[in-house]
Symmetry: none
Subunit: 209 residues, 4 copies
C-alpha cells in the first residue's frame, strides 16, 4: 500500500522493505529529538546506516520518509488494536478492555504518536488525506466497540463523540506527558478515565469513592 505511494528505484522488494524499516527506525528517533524540519536528510541516512545516495534510492523526497514513518505507525497501531478488540463482544466489559489495551498501546508508542501528531501537516495534501483516513478508520473501530457495548442506548452522534474522546485521551497521554505524567501512571490514568467515562460527574459520591 505505502509502496504504491513511495516508489523506489530498487527492484528487490524484500530489500526495499528491509532498508525502509532501517530508515523508519532511524528517522523516528531523529524526528522525536529535533522535529522533521530540523532533521537533515544526511542525518537520516546516517541514522539508517547507509549513505545519502542510498537513501535516495529508496525514496524520492525527504517528505517520503515522514510518510513512511506515519504509515508504519498507523500500521502497527492498527494491528495491535485489531488483536485486542473482539467486535462480537457486547458487554460493557469488552469496551473497558478495549480502552485498557488502547491506552496501553498509546503508552508504548508515545514517541511515535507524538511525532505524527506534530508533523502530519508537513505532508503533502494527498499524503495527509491518506494518513487521516487511517485515523478515521481507527476511530471507527472504537465506534464499533462502543456501539456493540451499549446496544440501543446511545445515538449515533453520541457514539461518534465518545469514540473521539477516547481516541484523543489516548493520544493526550503522550502529547501532554509533561503535565499528565507528573500526576498519573498509565494505570491510574486509564482507570480514572474509564471511571469518569462510565459514571459521569453526577453519579453519587458513594459510587465514585
Amino acid at each position: 500500500m505505502a509502496e504504491k505511494q513511495v516508489p523506489s528505484t530498487i527492484k528487490d522488494e524484500a530489500l526495499v522493505t528491509k532498508r525502509r524499516n532501517q530508515m523508519i527506525r532511524g528517522a523516528v528517533t531523529l524526528f522525536i529529538e529535533k522535529g522533521f524540519h530540523k532533521t537533515t536528510t544526511r542525518e537520516i541516512a546516517k541514522a539508517s546506516g547507509f549513505s545519502i545516495g542510498t537513501l535516495y534510492e529508496y525514496i524520492r523526497k525527504k517528505e517520503d520518509v515522514l510518510f513512511l514513518v506515519c504509515d508504519s505507525i498507523y500500521k502497527r497501531v492498527k494491528e495491535r488494536m485489531e488483536a485486542s478488540i473482539d467486535p462480537n463482544q457486547t458487554s460493557v466489559q469488552s469496551l473497558v478492555h478495549a480502552i485498557r489495551s488502547y491506552f496501553q498501546l498509546m503508552d508504548d508508542m508515545q514517541d511515535e504518536v507524538l511525532v505524527m501528531y506534530q508533523e502530519v501537516k508537513s505532508l503533502s495534501r494527498d499524503a495527509q488525506d491518506y494518513v487521516l483516513q487511517k485515523e478515521r478508520d481507527m476511530v471507527s473501530m472504537l465506534e464499533q466497540v462502543i456501539f456493540n457495548s451499549l446496544p440501543g442506548q446511545r445515538s449515533e452522534t453520541q457514539v461518534k463523540l465518545i469514540a473521539n474522546n477516547i481516541f484523543v485521551q489516548g493520544q493526550m497521554w503522550g502529547f501532554r506527558r509533561w503535565i499528565l505524567q507528573r500526576t498519573f501512571t498509565i494505570e491510574t490514568y486509564t482507570e480514572i478515565q474509564i471511571q469518569l467515562l462510565l459514571e459521569g460527574l453526577n453519579s453519587k459520591v458513594e459510587e465514585s469513592s
Copy 2:
C-alpha cells in the same frame, strides 16, 4: 512580561507594542497557511507592513515572532476565560457555564490554537517552558471551577484529569475539525460533551434521552 523575554533595540515602548501587534497579526495568518518553518522572515515583514530591516529592530530571531504569537494567543485566551469564569460560584451550573464559554472561545480562536499546537516545539526550551506554564495556569483555572462546583465529591487527581479532559476537548474542536465539524456544530458538540461529562455512560437510558 513578553517584552522581558524579547528585547528590542527601539526605545519607544509604545511603538514597540504597536509594531509587534502588526507583526503578530501578519504572522498568525502566515503560520496558519504554511506553518512556521515554511514562512520566511521576509514574508512576515511584508505582511506586517514594514521592511525586513525594521522587523529585526523589534526582534532578535525569527523564533521570537513565534514566541510573540504564542504569548499573544495565551493572553487573549486567558483574558476571555477570566471574564467568563466566576471563581466564587459553587454550583454545577457555573461549571457548565464555564465549559460553554471555553468551547465558544476555542471555536472563535480555532486557527490560532491550531498554530500554537503545531508549532510550540519550534520554540527554544526556555520559551517552551514559559508557554507551557501559561497552559498549566489555564488548566488550573478549570480545576478551580471544577473543584468549586463539586465540593468534596472528587479527589484531587480526578479533578486534575477532568480539567485536562475539558481543556483538550476544547482544543480538539479545532485541531480535529476535519473529523468533528462534519458531524457537529459547536453548539451540539458543546451540549453532548457536557451531557457525557455529567452523566457518564452508565446512566440509565431514560436519563440520557
Copy 3:
C-alpha cells in the same frame, strides 16, 4: 526588455543594471573556458565579484545568467550593426561596407558569439524563442541592405539565402577559427568572401585574378 524577463529582488534599478553587467562580464569568460554546464553558480558569483547570495538577488535561476549573457551579446551586436549600416544607400559598395563592418564585429566578439552558439539550447523554450527572434531581426537587417543594394535583381528567397549565408559566414569566422584562422586573417577572409559573393565561380579567370 531583458529586465522584464529576469526579475530581481533588488529595487534599485541602476544597481541591478550595474550588478548584472558585472555578472555578464564574469560569466562570459567562464562560459568560454568551460561551457555553461560545467560552470558553477559559485564560480559565476566569484568572477562577478560578489557572494553567491548576492548573485541570487539579481537572478532566479542559473539559466537566467545565460539568458542575460545572450541578450547582452545581441544588444551589442545590434547596436554596432545599426551604427555601421545605412539603409538608404543603394550601391553595391554599401553592401560591401556592411559586410566588412559585420565581419570585423564578428572578429571582435568571437568568444561571445561562440558561447551563444553552443549554449542557446540550454535556455528554456521561451528564452530560446526570444533570442532566436533577435537573430531573425539581425538577418532581416542584412536582407534589407542586400535588397537595397541590388534593386530588382534578386528574388526574395535569393535575398533571404544570401543574408543567411553572410550571417553564418560571419559567425563561422569565430566558431571555425581552429581551421580558418590558420589560413586567413580577418582581412583576407573578408575580402575573399566578398569577391566570391560578388563574382561567383563562373566568372572568367581574368576577372578574378
Copy 4:
C-alpha cells in the same frame, strides 16, 4: 580506430561492436532530445537495452559515449561522401553533383549533425582533436573536388574558403532549420546555393533569371 581510443573490459570484439552500436543508437536519440549533459548514463543504458553495469563494461566514462556517437556520425558521413564523389572527374558538373549529394546527406542526418555541432565541446581535448581532424578530412575531400573541377582557375586559399563555405552551408541547413526550413525545401535550398556559388551577385540579371 575508435576502439583504440575507448577501451572495453570485454574481450569478444564482435560483441563490443554490437553493444556499442546499440549504445550509439540509443544515445543519439537522447542527445537530440535533451542534450548530452542532461542525459544520464542510466537513461543511455536503458535506451540501449541493457543495465548500467553492462554499459560500463563497454566504456570507461560517460564522455566515451559522446565520442562513440560523434565518431559513428563522421564514419557514416564519410562513407556516403566517398560513395558519391568521383575524384577523377574534372568538370564543374561533378562539383555540382558533389554538392547535391552532400546537401542531401546533411538533410538526412540533420539531427545527428546538430547534436555533434552542439556537443563536441564536451569532449576532452584529445577527443576533440580526433573529431576535428575527421572534419578537416571531409573539408579536404570537398577541396579536392573543387580543385579538380576548376583546374588552375582558383588560388589555394580561395579553394579552401569555398570548401569551408559549402561545408558549413550543408550543416547550416540542419542547425538553422528553424529559419531556413520555413522558406526552402532541401531542393530549392540546394539549387539556389549552387546558383549563387557559380554566378555570384555581379552576374547580369539576364543570366540569373
